[in-house]
Amino acid sequence: MIEIHNLKKEYIVEEETPTRALRGVTFSIAQGEFVSIMGPSGSGKSTLLHILSFLDRPTGGSYTFQGKSIDEMTDQELARVRNKDMGFVFQSFNLLSRLTVYDNVEIPLLYSDTLPAKRRTLVEEAVRAVGLGEKLHTEAGKLSGGQKQRVAIARALVTDPNVIFADEPTGNLDSQSGLQIMEILESLNNKGRTVILVTHETQTAEFADRIIRIKDGVVESDNPITADRLRRGNLK
């Protein structure tokens, strides 16, 4: 599903020496995998997620998504893939607080070719799937942090994407809410969706089947969860 080879990303800030966020990253992710990308601050893990989720373009190497190279795609095509095949869950939820739960979840459908009549059903299904059916017409700003993140997951689900990208989804939540969110992501993966998670919390990362560790813009390790635990001497 996702294949990257020698992926590079350099930022040039005011003619200074380029900052090399990614220095040649290579891996592939198959359909239905649950992958955690871990690494310390500044390691390049968020940059990698942004490129994988088509929010940014690499400056070197190759990236093929569902058999098509990112280099061959226009910005408009990238937007269409983001809408149709990708779902996003952000650390800071990124909900529009003045809108209701319904309106927030509906946003991705506004940019798809889904007919208005079908939208209502899809939104209601997605909101029910995260257990917030009774909050459908509540303003997003009035929800708790955990509820907000569940709304964000419903928004990510509503277009029925193949892959969900989650950037520190539990970062702003208490442990109980964080656990609920990870269980939802795990159940989505169990239903066949690919989940790619960026986190710096080991406990959160271990919900995945595989952990890719990034350090200084390169892959430090790429192991299934059991091997990763072994490597850290933490296998129970």
């Binding site: 989720s53 996003f88 309106d103 946003i107 991705p108 940019y111 277009t159």
Partner: protein
């Protein structure tokens, strides 16, 4: 994104910040209302002036002494004494079949006195047929006659306002007034014509020979007013008048004319043109406020784009294209200016209506209520276009935002 959804999204955003939306609209409201008021009042003034001329002087042609000046007034109007219009001209004109009446006149300004009251006024010495020619009616008494002219009788007809100022509640007819050391007997008072620019309400009318010979001591006229037989074409009659006067003045070269003939049609056209140019000029000045209003819209939209950077980032992350975002912000700015335009039109219509009521009720002016549909269309078009023009830059800026930078914006 469907236009319907973009429209709904835009209206929600505007409704979310109602006070800001209203304040942003104010500039456009003021601009459109100003343009509407000026255009409507210009149209009203034009209709009013045309109505005044037509009611007072139907089928009239005016002859001024002095060489005609293209695009300007004849030299006599500019203060020069020109003595080319004389009795011989009047006699020649009276023989022309297309002419029904000729009324020469001489004017002057004097202080008119009744007992202890006096008032500075303009008097017009003219012939008796002027009353019929210009539809002047009497509230009391009657006008002077040809016999009064021949006999040099010292009689005067007063305009209604002048009569009121001098006599108050006393009936003026039969009383005497004095000006230019001559005692005049008041024989008539004209019906009020309102305070329009062609009103005779403040004037005194006296027989031509009294004003011309006895007061001014001249043998020429300052103006000829000629009434045309309505069965004749005005242009034909005008050509005949020019021909007669050239013969009378022995002029063979048309460039050497020493008179200027203007038909009422031409005067109306000229006045109409002047009013239209004046209206356009004033509307152009008023439209400056539209530019200021538009800049206000642009400013607020730029603030809005900055404030909603994360929203833009989110929308782009979930599939919005540059065009979707541009469309959303452009609809917001056009909605703001269109709403401002509609409110401006309503405010303008209300003020125009109030002006009509005030002028008609309190100033007895036969003002015409005019609210041209072109002003409404122009108002809507200008407000819509200003929304597009002033909204495009902020909307493009929003559309061009990089999703990552936008999502990271604090």
């Amino acid at each position: 994104m469907l236009f319907r959804d973009a429209f709904k999204t835009a209206t929600r955003s505007l409704a979310h910040s109602k006070m800001r939306s209203v304040l942003t609209m104010l500039g456009i409201v003021t601009g459109i209302a100003s343009v509407i008021i000026i255009m409507s009042l210009g149209d009203s003034a034009k209709q009013y002036i045309v109505g005044q001329i037509q009611s007072m002087a139907p089928n009239m042609i005016n002859v001024q002494p002095g060489a005609p000046v293209i695009g300007g007034a004849p030299s006599s109007v500019m203060g020069l004494v020109v003595k080319t219009l004389v009795a011989r001209d009047v006699e020649s004109l009276k023989r022309e079949p297309s002419i029904t009446n000729v009324a020469p006149n001489v004017t002057g300004s004097s202080r008119i006195v009744y007992e202890s009251k006096s008032k500075s006024t303009l008097w017009i010495a003219t012939t008796a047929n002027i009353f019929k020619m210009t539809n002047l009616n009497f509230s009391s008494g009657y006008g002077f006659t040809s016999a009064d002219e021949t006999a040099y009788r010292h009689v005067v007809v007063l305009g209604s306002k002048l009569a009121g100022d001098l006599f108050g509640d006393v009936e003026p007819v039969g009383k005497t007034v004095r000006f230019e050391d001559i005692t005049f007997r008041v024989i008539g008072v004209l019906e009020p014509k309102g305070s329009g620019m062609f009103s005779m309400d403040g004037y005194a009318l006296i027989p031509l020979p009294v004003g011309q010979k006895q007061i001014r001591g001249i043998d020429y006229y300052q103006e000829l007013n000629i009434q045309i037989d309505p069965t004749y074409d005005t242009a034909f009659a005008k050509a005949r008048i020019i021909s007669i006067l050239r013969t009378s003045h022995q002029i063979t070269d048309p460039t050497k004319d020493d008179f200027m003939v203007t038909s009422m049609d031409e005067t109306l056209n000229m006045l109409g043109n002047i009013m239209s140019i004046l209206t356009i000029f004033l509307a152009a000045i008023a439209s400056i406020s539209l530019i200021v209003g538009g800049i206000g819209i642009m400013n607020i939209m730029l603030v809005s784009v900055t404030e909603r950077t994360r929203e833009i980032g989110l929308r782009k992350a979930v599939g919005a294209t540059d065009r979707d975002i541009l469309q959303q912000f452009l609809i917001e700015s056009v909605l703001l200016t269109l709403a401002g335009g509609i409110i401006g039109i309503l405010v303008g219509a209300t003020i125009v209506g109030l002006i009509y009521v005030v002028l008609s009720t309190f100033f007895s002016i036969g003002w015409v209520f005019a609210f041209p549909i072109s002003a409404v269309i122009l108002g809507l078009a200008v407000s819509g276009i200003s929304g597009l023009v002033f909204g495009i830059y902020p909307a493009r800026k929003a559309g061009k935002k990089n999703p990552i930078d936008a999502l990271r914006y604090e």
